[in-house]
């Protein structure tokens, strides 16, 4: 009996030591990864300064023909930093980007629309095409604001529009929906922004945080790091890299 008890005790003790060792190893592993990311961050910072200084010829002139529409996803917590967001928009305007969609999950940017536009010195606010697009007088920058409900909820609304039109309405001929039916219905419910060519994520994780799914089929998704450590050089580099990408579109 005693030997049995002793064995049991030794086994428990070994298991506990084992768990502590594994926990320690896990923390060590993650510590090494953090050190690696730190070093990578420093390297990116240096690269960004070199790019900003204009020393590298590659980044001097950017051909923006293929960048018709840019989307920026900002983490909602960081989206409260209006000054950072407006600085980013000013950089984009300087680079020559014409159309930008600002997205954050909770709609913080939507709520701060007036503040952002004020800081960008908008002479007139025109609400022509849609509720979300406004025009600037100077270097034209068309801005769109989006949040999480513009994605999945918009599709549910579009489903209702299609149901009313083709299942309840007088026009009951067409009952085989195609992508153009859904696209048309989405435009009807207000989700009518074009598909972005490039999507930049400013946040801790490489994740698009619910940007409207219908619009990011072939969008290049680039993670830029947290908004607080955004750099002009990194932005130029990301856009330059985008201009070098060639897509097959499945072929």
């Amino acid at each position: 009996m005693d030997v049995g008890d002793e064995m049991q005790k030794v086994y428990c003790w070994t298991a506990q030591i084992g768990n502590v060792v594994l926990l320690l190893l896990w923390h060590i592993l993650h510590f090494v990864i953090s050190v690696w990311y730190c070093a990578l961050g420093i390297a990116h910072m240096l690269e960004s300064y070199i790019i900003s200084s204009g020393l590298l010829r590659r980044y001097k002139a950017l051909n923006l023909d293929r960048l018709q529409f840019l989307a920026v996803v900002v983490d909602s917590e960081e989206a409260h930093q209006i000054s950072k967001v407006t600085e980013l928009l000013q950089w984009l305007r300087t680079i020559g980007v014409k159309n930008v969609c600002l997205y954050d999950t909770e709609g913080v940017l939507k709520k701060s629309k007036e503040a952002i536009l004020e800081r960008l010195h908008v002479a007139k606010v025109s609400e022509e095409a849609t509720k979300n697009v406004t025009l600037l007088d100077q270097k034209h920058l068309n801005l769109e604001f989006a949040s999480y409900p513009d994605g999945k909820d918009a599709v549910a609304k579009a489903a209702n529009v299609l149901f009313v039109k083709y299942y309840l309405g007088r026009d009951q001929k067409e009952k085989n929906f195609t992508e153009s039916h859904v696209a048309e219905a989405l435009r009807t419910v207000g989700s009518r922004g074009p598909d972005p060519d490039l999507l930049l994520i400013y946040g801790p994780a490489r994740c698009h945080l619910g940007f409207p799914a219908w619009r990011i089929r072939y969008t290049e998704i680039v993670h830029m790091g947290p908004l607080k450590s955004m750099r002009y050089g990194s932005l130029r580099k990301a856009i330059q890299k985008f201009t070098m990408v060639r897509q097959n579109y499945g072929k």
Partner: protein, 300 residues
């Protein structure tokens, strides 16, 4: 003699590798383990070109890489794995290439039914996700047989996306949702219980919604699995190419610059470690949108 000792040596290395892998997985399991990993297997043709092989050889080597990755995932304890095998966009390729891909696909699907296949070894249930009507009859039948044969497996789930695009999935889900409500309308012609009278013939107002988001999501092809925790696309391409756009809202996206046939254990390891680093952040972000969603479902 040499052949035998060579065989023994590779056995020893194999076992050592497997042992090391299990130790690393044991350490990784201290932190959160992803429930669902999705793979975009990009780069088979480029690999074949690089190694001066035929295109078919690239896909075959890619298949070996797939079986290794599935093995690693199931050893780690990942319950759901999804792979992007064939996109609707891929039908745009040369007809000979599409034909040979379809034959290859059918060959591998039939391989799944064998005794010693990976799905039987790990108790994996297989689903074929996508617009299967677009496939040829023989491939579709093979897929249906594979789904039926593995229906009793319950340890893990493998979703193979064929003839799939996210936009097609959304259109299908919208259509099915409308069909479901159409049937409800038929069962209750007055529609009074569902507010349909108010809708009929009128403009749809802001508050009127018969079809809720939950109904649409129920009809998604990928309803067999939860949203992916990690999406891995090889070849360094940073786009999703119409794959799991709906489900990837809070997925960690990882694009290693290797071609698919060259993917290895270290890439999976890095993806899981990155996922663990961002786990708490992404869980918090998910909660922010899920609470309003639950409230909306309750009110509708």
């Amino acid at each position: 003699m040499d052949k035998e000792s060579g065989h023994q040596a590779s056995n020893i290395f194999g076992n050592l590798g497997s042992f090391l892998r299990k130790c690393i997985f044991r350490v990784l399991s201290i932190g959160p383990v992803p429930k669902h990993i999705a793979f975009v297997m990009d780069g088979n043709r480029r690999y074949a070109k690089k190694r001066k092989l035929t295109e078919g050889a690239g896909h075959r080597i890619g298949f070996f890489a797939l079986t290794s990755m599935l093995k690693y995932c199931y050893e780690l304890g990942v319950k759901y794995v999804t792979i992007y095998a064939f996109s609707i966009d891929n039908f745009k390729r040369r007809p000979e290439e599409v034909q040979s891909l379809m034959e290859f696909l059918q060959e591998k699907i039939e391989g799944l039914l064998e005794e010693e296949s990976i799905v039987n070894r790990y108790g994996v249930r297989v689903y074929f996700v996508g617009n299967l009507k677009l496939l040829s009859k023989s491939v579709r039948l093979a897929a249906e047989r594979a789904m039926a044969a593995t229906a009793s497996n319950s340890k893990a789930i493998l979703s193979i996306c064929v003839a799939y695009t996210s936009t097609d999935e959304i259109v299908h889900a919208v259509q099915e949702s409308c069909e479901e409500w159409d049937e409800i309308k038929v069962l209750d012609p007055s529609g009074s219980g569902y507010g349909l009278i108010a809708l009929e013939g009128n403009e749809l107002n802001q508050g009127d919604s018969v079809i809720s988001l939950t109904v649409v999501e129920k009809h998604m092809y990928m309803g067999v699995a939860p949203d992916p925790d990690i999406i891995i696309r090889t070849s360094g391409e940073t786009r999703l190419s119409n794959f799991l756009l709906w489900q990837s809202a809070f997925s960690h996206l990882y694009s290693p610059p290797v071609l698919w046939p060259e993917i290895g254990f270290r890439h999976l390891l890095w993806a899981v470690l990155d996922f663990q680093r961002n786990f708490i952040y992404l869980e918090e972000r998910k909660k922010v949108v899920q609470i309003p969603q639950i409230d909306r479902d309750r009110s509708s």
